[in-house]
């Protein structure tokens, strides 16, 4: 049933940015009814290539043929009209506009009076959301949605163009299992309709589920391509990284003597709904040298829990937090830091980084006293700190002075990690730390986390990916609807279902609050 004629053909694409050759003589072709996986490490050039294909960058060398016709998209609109749609790696939504307004932005349906036909727009959006199995009102403003929900809206928006070529740049980085399933269903449909799909993800297992072909990029160069089921995960990793790496869970024992953190009956009011709680009577303990996993479906309340512990919403909480045995009121992030806490937030662009700063300034922002003496900043100390972490975390950038906005998604995430490792915390809270990070870097982070924990660091590791939970954690807490629903010791025998079961909310509510 597959119609294997190339819809889009790319020849010798080269793209340079000041200081980096992001793409170097890349050629590939996309066939209808086929999902092609583009894989590569952070900074390999995947997003850049996709931005060229979708008209975001219109300055490049090389040719693009759309259905054997030479094209050079000047802007995204041209690409869309041709039939190339992209789901960007970073969200591109207008916070204060509603879902339907965002989905149809720039293509609003009009009534005979020349004003927007809201009923129609709403109806169409609702249909699309239906297809995405996303139960929210089309009139909800975007800023009220969680990261995951926003990602789904992005996908909806791309589909609403019903394009011939659909580029998905890490669409699953922010959404959890069941949404992924929905997405895969949709991709299958699209393939059946003979559309060409580009699928970028660092979650290799997904590629084997949903794609037929793969293309490997490394340092902006084309490495090789082929049939996905003619290869294995390890081979792919090898091709991406250029060397062997083994992801193994060596068994480790942390002796639960010293209790670093103990939370008693912690509750958090919901601002938006009277006597509704985002967190309800949360109780748990974190021990010295322990890596505590925190699993849950999207919207379980994990981020809120982390943020509360880090001193946000201090006015809306009840319950006690004991750090090393004594009771503490944590009023602000500063407070939390002084007490040895660190939080790598879920949303690196909004909460993690000052995008206009370079790597150096972002890294030292948490520890300016460390890099200054006599009250004055010391440039050398500042740079050394950054360079040190760029090496240890393998951050790919032209120099410590590179503006983080210009870094690839994954490298940005590493900078966030760097600035928190720099504070030498006793309790490290990681909210989805491996989101958008390549397999190699993930492994680095796992190793780092383990190493730090061996030296007595207590880690809370929030993740929506069971494999990595099982890979790094000694123990896993499962959350659903703001409650802790399970507390499971991780051993060789621990099964994914066991954890998943606890994560499923008891009563499936239809509103998202």
């Amino acid at each position: 049933m597959k119609v294997n004629e190339p819809i889009l053909r790319v020849e010798n694409i080269t793209k340079e940015f000041p200081g980096v050759k992001a793409l170097n003589e890349i050629s590939l072709q996309l066939e209808g009814g086929v999902a092609t996986a583009i894989i590569g490490e952070n900074g390999a050039g995947k997003s850049t290539l996709m931005k060229i294909l979708s008209g975001v960058y219109n300055i490049y060398e090389g040719e693009i043929y759309y259905k054997n016709e030479l094209v050079h998209f000047q802007n995204t609109t041209e690409a869309q009209q041709k039939g190339v749609a992209i789901i960007h790696q970073e969200l591109n939504l207008i916070p204060n506009l509603t879902i339907s307004e965002n989905v149809f932005l720039g293509r609003e349906p009009l009534t005979s009076l020349g004003i927007i036909d809201y009923p129609l727009m709403r109806k169409n959006t609702a249909k699309l959301l239906e297809r995405m199995k996303l139960q929210v009102d089309p009139d909800t403003p975007i800023f009220k949605l969680k990261v995951g929900e926003q990602q789904l809206v992005e996908i909806t928006k791309a589909l609403s163009l019903n394009p011939e070529v659909i580029i998905m740049d890490e669409p699953t980085s922010a959404i959890s299992e069941n949404e992924v399933e929905v997405l895969f269903e949709i991709i299958k449909d699209l393939k059946a309709e003979g559309k060409a799909i580009v699928y970028i993800s660092h979650k290799l297992d997904e590629l084997f589920k949903i794609t037929e072909k793969y293309v490997v990029l490394r340092d902006g160069k084309f490495i090789e391509s082929g049939e996905i089921n003619a290869t294995t995960e390890d081979e792919l990793i090898h091709k991406m990284v250029g060397r062997e790496i083994i992801i193994s869970r060596e068994s480790f024992q942390c002796n639960k003597k010293e209790c670093l953190l103990s939370v008693k009956n912690l509750s958090l009011k919901n601002l938006l709904v009277r006597d509704n709680y985002l967190l309800k009577e949360v109780n748990f303990e974190l021990f010295k040298g322990e890596v505590l996993g925190l699993f849950g479906l999207m919207g379980a309340g994990r981020t809120e829990l982390m943020e509360v512990l880090f001193g946000l919403y201090s006015s809306r909480i009840s319950g006690e937090v004991y750090i090393k045995g004594q009771l503490h009121q944590i009023k602000s992030p500063r407070d939390a830091m002084d007490k040895g806490l660190a939080l790598v937030p879920e949303n690196r662009k909004e909460d993690g980084l000052v995008l206009g700063f370079n790597i150096t300034k972002n890294t030292s922002l948490t520890v300016l006293d460390q890099v200054s003496s006599a009250g004055f900043l010391r440039k050398k100390k500042d740079n050394d700190l950054a360079t040190k972490y760029m090496e240890s975390l393998k951050i790919k950038a032209s120099s410590p002075n590179q503006i983080v906005e210009k870094l690839s998604g994954g490298n940005q995430q590493k900078v966030v990690l760097a600035k928190w490792f720099a504070t030498h915390p006793e309790i490290l809270m990681l909210d989805e730390p491996t989101r958008g990070i390549d397999i190699n870097a993930k492994n680095e982070i796992y190793k780092l986390v383990r190493k730090q924990s061996q030296n007595g660091l207590g880690v809370i590791f929030v993740s929506s990916e069971l494999p990595e939970i099982l890979a790094v954690c000694d123990r896993v807490l499962v959350m659903a609807e703001g409650r802790i629903t399970a507390n499971i010791e991780v051993t060789k025998e621990t099964s994914e279902n066991q954890i998943l079961k606890a994560a499923i909310p008891k009563i499936i509510k239809n509103d998202n609050a």
Partner: protein, 325 residues
């Protein structure tokens, strides 16, 4: 939940309503002359000009821009219309004389405003000049041209018809109020119901995203500044007609009042958030305040102090209200 969200954004939109209400309540208790129909019309007539400017300013601010030139454009366009209506236009080169009726003179005035605003938009989009600088430059330039045009002297005796715009009544409502009402209604529809309007919000909310969604940022911005200019001209014509005289230094520092109205109305200067109605309320608050302080016979020096404090208070109340929800 959904209704709640609606409610939230609603009360956010009409933030300053409470403040206004409280203000009026207090004033009507303190002075029996405040809540008279005469005074209500009086206030509305007085705020009409500022509201015209504020509406234009809202559009600009929603795109995360700013327009400091409205005051000067107001003066220039007022002067142009006045000259045309009272002297007509003389083109030496073709030794040709063109007479103007009030309406055509007004049209020209508004056209001039549109063009000046368009020029603002052009420098801002074409040369990436920060709106603050571009419009600040226009502030000086337009004022200078006004001086050159008028030689520093007012232009007077503009005739009955022209005066009607500013001083006349229609169906028991003052003309300026009519004009402003129409402007506001159009602006509300424009911002809330048309793609153009949504694009304004989109640009202010996330310019990059708007561009990637295929919004023609340049066109929208040009339009917005042009409209602001045209509305400034409308204001200028109202002022001129009310005084039956075009003052070369009319509209000095009006830009501040206009921006104040916009911000008090809950529109954020970083763009994307806010509404035309908000600006209207903001404008009315300022007008009511000015009027009230006079009725209460507060001495001019104290007036400034009180005015500042009240505005501060008004906004604080709103914020508190907004937060508690």
């Amino acid at each position: 939940m959904i209704t709640l969200k609606k409610h939230l954004s609603y009360s956010a939109k009409f933030q300053s309503l409470i403040a206004l209400f409280v203000l009026c309540l207090v004033l009507s208790l303190l002075s029996e002359n405040f809540l008279t129909t005469a005074n209500v019309w009086n206030i509305l007539r007085q705020v009409s000009v500022n509201i015209c400017l504020s509406v234009g300013m809202t559009l600009v601010v929603l795109t995360a821009g700013i327009d400091l030139s409205v005051g000067s454009i107001l003066a220039l366009c007022g002067a142009v219309s006045a000259t045309l209506v009272s002297y007509g236009l003389e083109l030496e080169i073709f030794n040709l004389f063109v007479g103007f009726g009030p309406l055509s003179a007004i049209m020209v005035g508004i056209a001039v405003g549109w063009c000046l605003g368009w020029f603002n938009g052009w420098t801002i989009t074409r040369f990436k000049v920060p709106p603050f600088v571009a419009t600040l430059a226009m502030l000086t330039i337009a004022r200078g041209i006004t001086m050159l045009w008028t030689g520093g002297f007012p232009i007077n005796n503009l005739g009955k018809e022209f005066a009607y715009i500013g001083t006349g009544w229609f169906l028991g409502i003052p003309m300026p109020v009519w004009i402003t009402a129409i402007v506001v209604i159009i602006a509300v529809i424009l911002t809330k119901k048309t793609p153009f309007g949504r694009h304004i919000y989109a640009i202010g909310g996330n310019e990059r995203a708007a561009r990637l969604s295929g919004v023609n940022i340049y066109k929208v911005k040009m339009m917005v500044y042009a409209i602001a200019g045209a509305l400034a001209a409308v204001g200028g014509i109202i002022v001129t007609s009310r005084l039956d005289s075009a003052q070369p230094n009319a509209g000095l520092t009006y830009e501040l009042d206009a921006i104040a109205a916009v911000v008090i109305g809950g529109t954020s200067l970083s763009g994307g958030k806010g509404s035309v109605m908000g600006a209207v309320l903001g404008g009315i608050i300022i007008g009511v305040l000015n009027n009230g302080l006079v009725l209460l016979n507060v001495s001019p020096f104290w007036q400034q102090v009180v005015k500042g404090l009240v505005i501060l208070l008004a906004v604080i109340i709103d914020k508190a209200k907004a937060r508690e929800e």
